[in-house]
């Protein structure tokens, strides 16, 4: 059987090589401009069979909706909208074909069904090419949307596949496809292959099988059992996943609060503009991505120091122009910095428009890392978790081992004594505030990967940030860390039972109650003056 289908494919390949000429490929492409759903498959097959190197790019453009019918001459071209005009290119070669007005072109209709069709066609083609990961992806794509030839193609591939993991994937894929088939024996043989698999496709195939009327009871029961076992495994994985979600939320809280842990915690400045400093960091990311249009990833990495500088500088200006006149008057600082926050918000609105800006997620931060089938941790969350810990460690080291850190601690504990010892306390104040602000900016870079970059970004984090710092114990960096992660995990454990809204309310009320009984937070700073 594998041999026979191999011959079939070989034959197909030969036909493909022999028949189409460049001219007929063009015709096929132009036929896409006016083709019904029923015949489209054939046209696509023909185009694929031409084996032209530009086909993949063509299919990709088609799937993205970038193919247009040029109404002036009836040809199909690739187009890109630039304002009111469209820049046209040859879909195969990429040669420029001039510009067209809105009325000159019509987009070739694409939808999810077509995209799936294109993906499958390309996947079949890629079964034998690329690295093992790409082959696995191709196999999955084939199984996700099987066509009549899929099983045969997979069978043909398995004989040649050398890589063990890919081979296993192929076997499972063939098994999954077999479950949908008529042959009871094949089904019986395939079922054991699927034991332990938790992915959606397998479970879907099992579920369909267990519903079928034309299958013996005993097979259905076996499928049922496999499903139950998979579900049990998934439940466990869900618990691990929930923990990860909690830690991830905690890392966001940590990032948004950690700058405040410096300005508020160490210096005692109530900085209501903290959220806006985060926002500035996020906008810095956006600006850098505009400056470096082709490489969003590089822009993101560069944004980390850039945002630190931008927010740090703004923080420095705020400290020098406002806060330094208000030391020892915390409530006045609160009001004044709130004024600053309004001004910053409106400034951003006036400069960048009130609309949200779109920060691109680089490809290496998209998607997820599949730890186990059924347990995948998203890269962006994972990266932010690691990043938050790195920022924390850096700050901790800075406070503990550097001269500035020493001076900051000295000034915050006994300003007069520190000054007597020659510490220039004003300079330390300014630098500390700039440091806390800069860290807020860095947090903004990370948050731009998770949420909207808009003028209101800061507002949504300010209350949480203060609560985290107060909950952890003012002046205690470790407290901030513990507070952020415990709040994150706690919210995420509550959420399934109560829903997101109630979970948030309960966490807030719980915090208020906790702080009423222990106003000093989890790790109070105990000193001679009793702290307050």
């Amino acid at each position: 059987m594998p041999l026979r289908s191999f011959a079939f494919w070989l034959g197909l390949l030969l036909c493909a090589l022999a028949l189409p000429t460049a001219a007929s490929l063009r015709d096929d492409i132009n036929r896409l401009g006016d083709v019904s759903n029923d015949t489209r498959g054939e046209v696509l097959q023909d185009i694929l069979a031409s084996d032209h190197p530009g086909v993949e790019a063509l299919f990709d453009a088609y799937g993205r909706g970038a193919l247009y019918l040029d109404r002036r001459n009836g040809t199909v071209v690739q187009g890109e909208r630039k304002g009111a005009r469209y820049e046209l290119r040859d879909p195969l070669t990429g040669d420029e074909l001039g510009v067209a007005g809105r009325r000159d072109v019509r987009r070739l209709r694409v939808d999810n069904n077509l995209r799936e069709e294109l993906d499958t066609l390309l996947a079949l083609r890629q079964l034998g090419t690329g690295d093992p990961d790409a082959r696995v992806a191709a196999i999955r794509a084939v199984v996700a949307a099987p066509t009549s030839g899929s099983a045969a193609a997979l069978q043909a591939r398995i004989a040649q596949e050398a890589d063990l993991t890919v081979r296993e994937e192929l076997e499972v894929a063939i098994g999954v496809l077999a479950l949908a088939g008529e042959d009871i024996d094949v089904i019986r043989r395939s079922l054991p292959l699927l034991a332990g698999r938790t992915d959606i496709i397998t479970r879907g195939a099992l579920a369909t099988l267990s519903q079928r009327a034309d299958v013996p009871k005993e097979l259905k029961r076996q499928a049922q059992k496999l499903m139950t076992r998979a579900e049990e495994k998934l439940r466990w994985l869900a618990r691990i996943e929930a923990l990860f979600f909690g830690l991830s939320l905690g890392s966001v809280l940590l990032l948004s609060a950690i700058g405040l842990a410096i300005t508020f915690g160490v210096m005692g400045v109530i900085n209501m503009a903290h959220g806006e400093l985060i926002m500035l960091g996020a906008y810095t990311t956006w600006v850098l991505q505009q400056v470096l249009p082709g490489s969003p990833g590089l822009a993101l990495v560069l944004a980390i120091p850039a945002a630190f500088l931008v927010s740090g500088l703004v923080g420095l200006v705020i400290e020098r122009s406002v806060i330094r006149f208000l030391y020892g008057r915390p409530l006045e600082t609160l009001l004044a910095t709130f004024g600053v926050s309004l001004v910053l918000q409106q400034a951003v609105r006036s400069i960048f428009s009130p609309l949200n800006r779109s920060v691109v997620t680089p490809s290496w931060l998209s998607g997820s890392w599949e730890l186990l089938p059924g347990l995948a941790l998203t890269y962006n969350r994972l990266a932010i978790l690691v990043f938050s810990l790195a920022v924390f460690a850096a700050l901790l080291a800075l406070m503990r081992y550097t001269r500035l850190g020493l001076q900051v601690r000295a000034v915050s504990q006994n300003r007069a004594m520190a000054r007597a010892l020659g510490v220039r306390s004003h300079r330390v104040d300014a630098l500390t505030f700039a440091l806390g602000s800069g860290v807020a900016g860095v947090a903004g870079v990370a948050l731009s990967q998770l949420t909207n970059v808009g003028p209101n970004l800061g507002q949504s984090y300010i209350i949480d940030s203060f609560l985290v710092v107060v909950f952890g114990g003012v002046g205690n960096l470790w407290g901030t860390l513990v507070a952020a992660f415990s709040l994150g995990v706690f919210s995420k454990l509550l959420e399934p039972a109560t829903g997101a809204v109630l979970a948030k309310i309960l966490v807030l009320l719980g915090l208020i109650l906790f702080l009423q009984s222990r106003p000093q937070g989890l790790f109070p700073r105990r000193g001679r003056d009793g702290g307050t």
Binding site: L335, F338, G339, L342, R349, S350
Partner: protein
Amino acid sequence: MKWIAIPPDRAGRVTVLVLVAAAVLVPLASFLPADSALGLSSYTVSLLGKYLCFAMLALALDLIWGYAGLLSLGHGAFFALGGYAMGMYLMRQIGDRGVYGNPELPDFMVFLDWQSLPWYWWGFDSVYFALAMVLLIPGILALVFGWLAFRSRVSGVYFSIMTQSLTFALMLAFFRNEMGFGGNNGLTDFKDIVGVSLQSPQTRAGLFAVTALLLALIYLGCRVLLETRLGRVLIALRDDEARVRFLGYSVASFKLVVFVLSAMIAGVAGALYVPQVGIINPGEFQPLNSIEIAIWVAVGGRGTLHGAMLGALVIALAETILTGSLPELWLFALGGVFLAVTLFLPRGLMGLRSTS
């Protein structure tokens, strides 16, 4: 007219005089044709009524911030709760005139398929019950929150942050439709108050007069209260809390009394605000609103009740003007005012007056 002389200073007498005069003259002017020299349109009357509610709210905050040194950044919560209590009464007044003609349930409950009126809506058919709730709900919340906070000596910025979290939590809660307060839309489409139509110019004029007179009364009451030993203790508390404690005063109970009182005044302001603007919704719980109250007080001048009221009027009027003509500048202006007042006018407009 001797009772007017109770506030010993001129500013106090002028404040009361202006309010009483407004209570009489604004309603009168509203019945003159709107285009005559002294005539006021219904729009202006509601606008002035709204300003007075804000002034009352500012007064409430000044009582605890200016005198007892407690900066609540959640006073909007008490205002909103008073407003909701009044709103619930106004909803019950609609009766079967809602769009579904259901005599039992407000419209928003009908179309979300509620079967019966939740228990916490019981009693709001009665105006007396509603008025009691206007005072009691903010009062009890302040009592519980204050008792917890003051007992464990939460003060200063911690108190501010916590009150802010409180109003934030309440906002989220009231946004939930399952709470039974109309969710995001809140309560609206009111028809009558104590049996008379809310839309009639007489009612509008009456509401304005009641607001102005109540504000004058509350102002007087607060002035009298602050002249007593209680008032002295509050000022002492603001300036040196430890000393007061070592004099043997139970600081917590003094704070609690004035906090509850202030919350109730805020509740009354909210209750008067709702029928005049015609809607109450969870947006009133926004932390931003509460911070704005602090700005009114800071602009007018802390520790002088009339200063706080003046601050509220000035800012509200400026907001009306600026959001109309230069909306983009409004936040710049407001932010600038925050900065300027804290940096250059620590005693607000009142400070300006006493130094010149």
